[in-house]
Point group: C2
Chain length 208, copies 2
């Protein structure tokens, strides 16, 4: 029951039904989630550990607001972690996985060509997920997943940034090529360059 409350509340926050800074009142959540305060509190505790909400003693919980500075920090951490993961994926990739990467690359080029940005964004997520799966680095994977949760809003803005695919598509292609070539160093560099450009995009979007 408490895991259920956690999952419900988490997805509600991630899909934006509660805005950053919004207060999360336990009694209201009890009704919303159809459960007791005990479970609600446990869920809030867990979400605080994920960095999605902040609880202040005697003052309750609210959705955590991630300022630009911190979004950049988080993405810097993601940059080095995904670099590590990409390098390890290059060292471990199987032939079957290599062709799966090829397929995603192909679909990405098609999606960008057809202007299907939503589809491209999904493929982006799928590519990064597959690379993490190939790497099989559970520690890095868990941290990356946690950090991604904290950035849903910002990520969303980046993926809708006009001209973004033109920058990121060739980067994705380089990452795929390096992994297929079993070249860890090249894969790490390509991944880091890719995510470094996300940081640039974050800053540009915020300046608007």
């Amino acid at each position: 029951m408490t895991a259920e409350a956690y999952a419900l509340l988490r997805s509600a926050i991630l899909r934006g039904e509660y805005l950053p800074g919004e207060r999360l009142v336990e009694a209201q959540l009890c009704e919303r989630l159809g459960t007791s305060r005990f479970n609600v509190r446990a869920a809030l505790q867990d979400l605080a550990a994920d960095g999605l909400v902040k609880v202040e003693r005697n003052k309750g919980a609210h959705v955590r607001k991630v300022p630009l500075d911190e979004a950049v920090e988080i993405t810097e951490v993601r940059m080095v972690l995904e670099g590590l993961v990409a390098a390890r994926a290059a060292a471990r990739v199987s032939d079957e996985q290599a062709s799966e990467l090829d397929e995603i690359g192909l679909l990405m080029r098609r999606a960008v060509g057809a202007g299907e940005f939503r589809r491209y964004s999904d493929l982006n997520e799928r590519l990064h997920g597959l690379i993490r799966h190939i790497a099989g680095h559970r520690t890095a994977d868990g941290i990356i997943e946690t950090l991604r949760g904290q950035l849903v809003r910002h990520q969303f803005m980046v993926s809708l940034h006009p001209g973004r695919p033109a920058v990121s598509l060739p980067q994705h292609e380089r990452i795929i090529a390096a992994i297929q070539a079993h070249d860890p160093a090249a894969a790490e560099v390509a991944m880091r360059e890719h995510i470094a450009s996300v940081i640039t995009a974050l800053r540009e979007i915020d300046a608007l």
Copy 2:
């Protein structure tokens, strides 16, 4: 009160009063910590988020056991994160901080020369802490701190490994030099090499 219980229990685990795998029974902890089950449970929840304790539903909590594979993964993550932090420290270090680094380097050489390994180990911690302070990267810092907690036992073994100072002292000197030279790339490389050698040491110790 709950924060107090958390702090007490955390330090008890870190100083090895509870061994990996040992069961943590709520009622016993209530006596040990002089508080109610409510607070004990909250503390266990928080420690689980830190990765120090694992709680299984209806089966209670025990001190988490970190196998070698995972210790290596954790140290790999630390390698790239501390690399990031070292690079940033090189970009931001002030003159005053640079001379503080110098002082630590000097004390380290003295400690190794005098065979004071415990003192060297403390200085090691102080050096890494100062570099993180100079970098001012709160996101990376928090993650590194969490990971360090999970490895206390392994770290301890590494620092007592004979011949370890002979390997790590010159590495520390290179890190200090690169930061003082305001050379982020060199600082990152030096830090990564240093922590890569910790991974080697971890594996050697486990093979005994």
